[in-house]
């Protein structure tokens, strides 16, 4: 009986006995795919014909001039099919599901992006699909619920616990222990029991591999720093993995919520509020109390509102390879506004955390330094949250008018 999937003591595979066989099969399928160059080629073909890979690397000239420091580039994961990096992981796992001969997929979703991506994959590949989503997130991200259902998925609103991402994950596991013979759980981030952290990071490594090649083509040299937001950590793992062996500083940005001293945040690696624990099948830093009960987290962005963090990121922090910071809700709204006005880009609130931190640091860097920000997703889905944050009167009037039409 071997211990597997450990990174500096983080990770592991803490699963109920009923799932042992399922994980054995998954590890085998994953390792066989990794050893098969044909699998990765098939993956690249799907991502270049069904999604929009390689995604562009955009030079943000106006933001660069505005801050007067480093040259700012933006990796455009928002241009993936369904508008986020989630497609990378989902299509990869979809190909594995086909190899394993399963017919149904389930997934958790926070912001709804992973759920929508999974629903498109299931529709295209012919799988049945059920998506678990915390009730609070259903409320925050209603448009994504609409699209998942239109795509043929069943969306289950989870009313247990804090009614957010972690509770959706628990509920997906409860489904899986009943239906694992036909069903694969498409975990959406680089967390959970082995092999998920490693496997999801592998599929997302396409981000960093492309970004490294693109910046060398454009600038002939490497960036000084790269920035990615960190919820579970999959888009950060994706970008970071391209620069792991380079003299490039890796910066992960967590949800600072209402501030690190407020208790209302989701900062696991950049605050002192988290401690090491074991939950949801893996060992990492969790926001938990002294008894080991998980605390409620807060973020303006549903996708970063999570108690745990990728064990591989916890490892990168432990060995000093990556630095972790937090951006507050208010800083994030400022960053998204500035990015829209200066570059005409609409980053998701999640991704805007990476922008906010890069904006804090860019002015302190030299003019010939380069930074890359991962725009992990597009902001269209955040229309209700952003409209509320700015208290947009025209939007409110529109919604009221629409409601009256439905009422009539």
């Amino acid at each position: 009986m071997d211990k597997r999937g450990y990174f500096s003591g983080f990770g592991g595979c803490f699963i109920p006995e009923i799932l042992t066989q399922t994980f054995e099969e998954l590890v085998q399928a994953y390792e066989a795919a990794k050893a098969d160059p044909g699998f990765w080629q098939e993956y690249l073909d799907v991502m270049s014909t069904y999604s929009c890979r390689p995604t562009p690397l955009t030079f943000a000239g106006n933001l660069t001039n505005h801050f007067g420091g480093a040259r700012i580039y933006i990796k455009r994961e928002d241009l993936n099919h369904t508008g986020a990096h989630k497609a990378n992981n989902v299509m990869g796992q979809g190909l594995l599901v086909k190899r394993m001969g399963k017919t149904r997929v389930i997934a958790e979703t926070g912001a709804g992006q992973h759920g929508v991506a999974t629903a498109t994959m299931a529709a295209r590949m012919g799988f049945d699909c059920t998506i678990y989503m915390g009730e609070e997130d259903v409320e925050r991200q209603r448009p994504n619920v609409f699209w998942m259902e239109r795509l043929g998925a069943t969306v289950v609103s989870v009313r247990d616990g804090s009614r957010t991402l972690k509770d959706a994950i628990n509920e997906a596991f409860r489904d899986w222990v009943s239906n694992m013979d036909t069903t694969h759980y498409v975990l959406g981030t680089a967390c959970g029991p082995h092999p998920f952290p490693e496997m999801v990071a592998w599929f997302q490594s396409i981000i960093g591999t492309e970004a490294r090649k693109q910046i060398l083509e454009r600038e002939g040299r490497l960036p000084r720093r790269v920035y990615a937001c960190v919820g579970g950590g999959s888009n950060a793992m994706g970008l970071f993995s391209g620069f792991m062996d380079d003299p490039v500083e890796l910066v992960g940005v967590e949800a600072g919520g209402k501030g690190l001293d407020s208790g209302l945040h989701a900062a696991r690696l950049s605050s002192r509020d988290a401690s090491i624990g074991v939950a949801q099948g893996y060992k990492t830093y969790f926001l938990q109390d002294g008894d080991g009960q998980m605390r409620d987290t807060h973020s303006i962005s549903a996708g970063l509102d999570y108690v745990g963090v990728s064990p591989i990121l916890a490892h990168l922090q432990a060995i000093g390879r990556a630095r972790f910071e937090a951006a507050t809700d208010a800083e994030v709204l400022e960053a998204v506004t500035l990015t829209m006005r200066k570059e005409g880009l609409i980053p998701a609130l999640e991704s805007s955390h990476a922008f906010a931190q890069a904006f804090k640091e860019a002015p302190t860097l030299a003019k010939d330094d380069i930074v890359i920000i991962n725009q992990s997703g597009r902001g269209d889905k955040d229309i209700f949250t952003v409209a509320d944050a700015f208290d947009d009167p025209a939007w409110k009037a529109f919604i009221q008018h629409k409601a009256e039409q439905y009422h009539a």
């Binding site: 616990g161 009943s178 694992m180 008894d291 009960q293 998980m294």
Partner: protein, 253 residues
């Protein structure tokens, strides 16, 4: 030793009953009452669940009981005090059931030490497979406590033997896939599975997941040694109160 206690009881009864409560659900006073009622109704051993915020292996009934108990503010310390008192008051074996993070945060060695001080006999930790259990096994053995491991319906014979080599006291057999508290089909197939379990270990076998009435317990007689009733007792407690839990227990054998 828990196994010896179980064997002695099995010399007098053809099936033992193990029941389950969530400590602090709906409050500590009721939990004491439920334990007293269950012991007086003749249960042979009991699982005391320390509530956890992420009870991944539990179905809706026990999940809700975990959440409601935590909402009353119950702490792990209070759960130890509760266990100590019931183990002192009643002469049956008591086990802790909880998830690994509760032990991990407390410190696994300190947790086992305090379990022994409180008079507990063992623990069931459903999210801790033997692969991850080195520290836990060492601590439990050091303090003479039984680590109870689980056989699932899809656990193969080789793995059953590996698991049994790490366990003591008894083996907990799941009657079906899924989470606690759902319908179970007590069929010939389940009988066959229990025969495989029996062949893989010398340890006594408990059968749980979906055991709810007299017929289920009759089915288990001769195939396993302990019938485990969990969610059903909570359902009866919720709908009919503590006294009805005693009636349920008395109706089972």
């Amino acid at each position: 030793m828990l196994e010896t206690t179980i064997r002695n009881k099995l010399a007098q009864k053809d099936i033992l009953l193990m029941t389950h409560i969530v400590i602090g659900y709906p409050n500590l006073d009721t939990s004491f009452e439920v334990v007293r009622t269950m012991v007086e109704a003749g249960v042979d051993l009991m699982e005391l669940q320390i509530p956890f915020s992420e009870p991944m292996a539990d179905g809706s009934v026990i999940l809700k009981a975990n959440q409601d108990a935590l909402a009353t503010g119950i702490t792990v310390d209070q759960c130890f005090d509760f266990a100590q008192q019931v183990a002192r008051d009643y002469q049956i074996p008591f086990l802790f059931m909880t998830y690994y993070n509760i032990l991990f945060k407390y410190g696994v060695e300190a947790f086992a030490e305090r379990m022994a001080e409180c008079g507990l006999c063992g623990a069931i930790v459903p999210d801790l497979p033997p692969e991850e259990a080195d520290e836990y096994l060492a601590a439990m053995n050091r303090h003479g406590l039984a680590p109870i491991f689980i056989f699932a319906p899809n656990t193969g014979e080789t793995r059953m033997r590996q698991i049994a080599a790490h366990g003591s006291g008894f083996i907990y057999c799941m009657a079906r896939k899924g989470v606690t508290g759902l319908q179970t089909d007590f069929s010939q197939q389940l009988g066959g599975h229990l025969a495989h379990c029996r062949a893989a270990t010398e340890l006594p076998l408990a059968l749980g997941f979906g055991v709810k009435d007299h017929d289920d317990v009759q089915f288990i007689k001769g195939k396993a040694d302990i019938a485990v009733v969990g969610s059903e007792a909570i359902r009866v407690l919720d709908s009919q109160g503590v006294a009805a839990v005693g009636d349920l227990i008395r109706s089972l054998r």
